[in-house]
Symmetry: C2
Subunit: 150 residues, 2 copies
């Protein structure tokens, strides 16, 4: 299972580097359905002057509009770094059932400085429907991108 996860997380890490190359923060996320990537998103906080433009929030916002709720409910969300409280909320509201992340929020805090440190499992634990979470996986590779950026 981790091999499949690693394949998609590597793509998220690529997206996170791409985001940084665009002048944004290094975060990338994607949705997988039936083993295939159906949507990708990057952080756009700087390029779109949008404080809410985190990769995961951008992803689920577009997913509901472009793919529809029924499809989103069958997807797994992969992300280069554990979703923050804002993004975890957005993921919950969108109905995404599974989340897999590479770098943990804790590790990001150690590198970038602590800010709003909130393990996503704690947000999902307050929901009435369950969100399955896997991670950290490939944490060192994802953390390396942060170490080079912040």
């Amino acid at each position: 299972m981790n091999e499949i996860h690693e394949r998609f997380l590597k793509r998220c890490i690529e997206l996170s580097k791409q985001a940084a190359a665009q002048g944004n923060h290094p975060f990338g996320a994607l949705l997988v359905r039936d083993g295939k990537i159906v949507l990708e998103a990057e952080n756009t906080v700087n390029s779109e002057v949008d404080i809410t433009g985190h990769a995961e929030l951008n992803l689920v916002r577009r997913a509901i509009r472009e793919l529809g709720e029924a499809v989103v409910k069958e997807c797994t969300l992969y992300t280069s770094t554990e979703p923050c409280a804002m993004c975890s909320g957005a993921i919950y509201w969108a109905g995404v059932p599974k989340v897999v992340f590479a770098c943990s929020a804790k590790r990001l805090g150690e590198i970038a400085g602590e800010s709003l440190l909130f393990p996503c499992r704690e947000v999902f634990a307050r929901g009435v429907r369950s969100v399955e979470v896997n991670g950290p996986i490939l944490e060192d590779a994802a953390a390396e991108v942060h170490a080079g950026f912040w």
Copy 2:
């Protein structure tokens, strides 16, 4: 102090009714600087097919773009209902220093059915900068709008 709060919260409740009249969920929020309203927003989840289109998230997204971070840091955010985890995260990232709400998340849950029940103070408590929170204030008036909707 509560008189001033009540004046702005009443406007939030008006905005929440306006949102419902537009086919959206009944939530409204606004930003106040130096005793004056500088920006208002409503829930746009249905009208814009945007799962992230909560009033507070819409408000801070526009505020950073239209007013700038320096102004947002001097504002108080008023909202008809306590911000959810997603919106609390967005409020934190935007740098808003004060939040005042009418209906509590708990009361909303009792009316609309529990979902992602998260007192905003618990989200803000994880941040490195403090966010002052006041509420519930005028809870019955705000709850009445929910009781008529859900």
